[in-house]
Amino acid sequence: MRSMVINKPLSFYTKKSTAMHVLIVLIACLLSWLNWQSGEKQRKINVKLVQSSVRVDMVALPKRTLKELEAIQASSASAPAPSTTSKVPEPKPIPDKGDEYLKDTKEVKKKSLADLLKNYSKKDKVSDVKKVRAKSKEGSGLNQKQQALLAGLVKRGNKVQKGEALVGNGSAEVLSAVQAYATRLPGIVKPFWKIPSYLADKGLRARIRVFINSQGRIVRAVIYESSGDDEYDNRALAAVKKASPFPVPEQKISKNILNGDILLGFPL
């Protein structure tokens, strides 16, 4: 064995080693590219989530009073829902406040990171793998982070929110369509969501699974997670039923919607 090693010229080992290294690098490239492709949709959702939970600082005093802003939100929530489209709807436009609301550097950083990721996806570089993994980790750990994220979303401040849905995994296209559909529901249910004072500030939470048919009507609404208080559960159920009919779902997701893929959290 040893003699064999000695007998070979150095160039032989150099070539072999180079070939090995190139192969490894190629494999790494390929894997990272595959990884990137597979996580594309999920990543978009993640980036959206991150953006919607970013804090916004003001660069000028708000012109509108708190009551005026509340009135705007209430009217936008009770406005008739737009007809369904095949595209993921754009985030709600932030009401015209001139230049009062600029995003702080934190958000700018996050945004630029998102842009970076997008650009890199075209170029397909190995060096992105780390960032990609960091992002996709956030995605897979979603369930653990749901509570915190959702709580943050509810605590949003003086600003109209962007997305507010958290999703599991599935066929990416259908999934995002389901998600897009789901995010329209809270605004429709919220005006009917009322509880008596003695149930307030008790930290109760109920989740209701809704089954909506292709006409947008509630077929069934069942308590998926009870708050432990009958009155609270009933109020949540009543809010869902009063809010029906909902927007007509798209053809491709109507099966998911009818099968009860959507959970409404009261409040989370």
Binding site: S38, D57, G157, A200
Partner: protein
């Protein structure tokens, strides 16, 4: 080397194989709107043979209690209809439940002696169909307001599980009594509802920046004397609300002003200029010893301390640019944990902590007038509260943090303007003015007990 690469590659494969568990799409509907509780307050049939004066006491007691609960209009819907009275007296729970009543208060009076009535105020829950609380007080023409507020507070606590504003008081400065030749501003005190106004000082000078102690027994204020003497030093006084006696507690050279009680009641924070620049100091009331809290070449003024004494909000010019900004710091040491809160506003003034220290109300110059704003203690959630309502200054939180009193100025003509104390909810829902025919009223301070 190759080993490392193999590990790296296997890691890649691992991340590929990780898939989030299958889940349903969850969307948050958010916090529910809390329904108002229907509340009716009725007086049981009166005993016979009452004098007119005694009947007035009964009427005042009932009116006061209705008015008290009406302040919490986000919480209660005070229903005031004559036909509900017999239903409440007969405890017709199903009827009351049907019209949305959740609680009712039944006041029963008995004559104790001449002009003295004993009252039994009972709170019933319509949902639980039972008596929740009974409060018994004795009322006379002179104490009906005080005892009525106390009874109302006890019943409120039973419903809400926390104290109300019904027993709180507000001190303020009014220029009542000003003549053409001599402008004066004296210190006054009143109940939270604007009744029982009483003058506390008689300096014939200008009282400025009062502050309540946390127990409400003492008031600090500074005085700009009207005397013609050369010394017009602005000294700090402390006043005993009960006895009305006041004395100088700080008379260092320059300004001794903007004082604020520490929660222990033994120390105060105030602005002193005896070393040249305006800085915030802590002063021990018993020993007179001072300790410096801020140290910066720019002025630091107007401290406000939270209820635990761990945070102090103040104004400082340290950002440069000539705009006073709001900062918070730990007042227990010098320049400790200083954090800037406001980054906007041409001129911010009078930062005031809410009782729990979670938010700060302040006035800021916008569109050629002052308006009241609110911001969380960490600088988030900046909200505007007043708009198109005159020039609004000097916010002060109520003892329960649900209301803000402030002074609002209306320009009547080129030479005349009137300033009064108003009250609003912490969300900017203005409930009305508290002062009437009191001249120009400013710098309200709400007691914190």
């Amino acid at each position: 080397m190759i080993k490392n690469l193999v590990i790296l590659i296997s890691l890649f494969i691992l991340t590929l194989s990780i898939k989030a568990e299958e889940g349903l799409t969850i969307v948050a509907v958010g916090k529910a709107d809390v329904e108002k509780d229907g509340l009716i307050i009725v007086t049981n049939d009166q005993p016979r043979g009452l004098s007119n004066r005694e009947k007035t006491i009964i009427a005042e007691y009932e009116k006061l209690m209705k008015n008290d609960f009406s302040f919490y209009k986000q919480k209660f819907n005070v229903m005031d209809k004559n036909e509900y009275k017999p239903k409440a007296v007969r405890k017709d729970y199903s009827f009351l439940s049907g019209i949305g009543v959740r609680y009712f208060i039944l006041n029963s009076f008995d004559k104790a002696s001449e002009n003295t009535l004993s009252v039994k105020s009972e709170l019933y829950s319509v949902r639980e169909k039972k008596l929740l609380e009974t409060v018994s007080v004795t009322v006379t023409p002179s104490n009906v307001r005080k005892n009525g507020h106390e009874a109302g507070d006890a019943l409120f606590q039973k419903i809400a599980g926390q104290t109300s504003i019904f027993r709180s008081k507000i001190v303020f400065v009014s220029d009542k009594g000003t003549t053409k030749s001599k402008g004066i501003k004296e210190l006054y005190i009143m109940d939270f509802d604007g009744h029982g106004v009483r003058r506390l000082t008689n300096h014939r000078g200008n009282v400025i920046s009062p502050a309540f102690s946390f127990d409400g027994r003492k008031v600090l204020y500074s005085l700009i004397k009207n005397s013609r003497s050369k010394s017009r030093n602005i000294n700090l006084y402390i006043l005993d609300v009960e006895t009305g006696r006041s004395r100088v507690i700080s008379s260092k050279k320059g300004i001794n002003s903007g004082a604020f009680f520490m929660p222990d009641g033994e120390n105060i924070a105030l602005t002193l200029t005896h070393e040249g620049n305006a800085e915030i100091y802590s002063l021990n009331l018993a020993s007179g010893a001072t300790r410096r809290i801020t140290k910066h070449y720019q002025p630091d003024v107007d401290p406000s301390i939270n209820v635990t004494g761990s945070r102090m909000a103040f104004l400082s010019g340290r950002s440069g640019a000539g705009k006073p900004m709001i900062y918070i710091a730990d007042p227990r040491a010098q320049e400790k944990d200083v954090k800037r809160i406001s980054y906007v506003g041409k001129f911010n003034a009078t930062p005031r902590f809410s009782p729990d220290g979670s938010e700060i109300a302040f006035a800021s110059w916008l569109d050629n007038r002052f308006d009241i704003f609110r911001v969380d203690e960490n600088g988030a959630n900046l909200h505007r509260l007043t708009k198109d309502f005159g020039s609004n200054e000097d916010p002060t939180y109520s003892n329960d943090g649900q209301f803000i009193a402030f002074s609002s100025q209306r320009v009547l003509s080129r030479t005349r303007a009137v300033q009064n104390i108003y009250i609003m909810t912490r969300d900017g829902d203005i409930l009305g003015s508290l002062t009437k025919n009191m001249g120009n009223c400013s710098t309200p301070r709400w007691s914190k007990y």
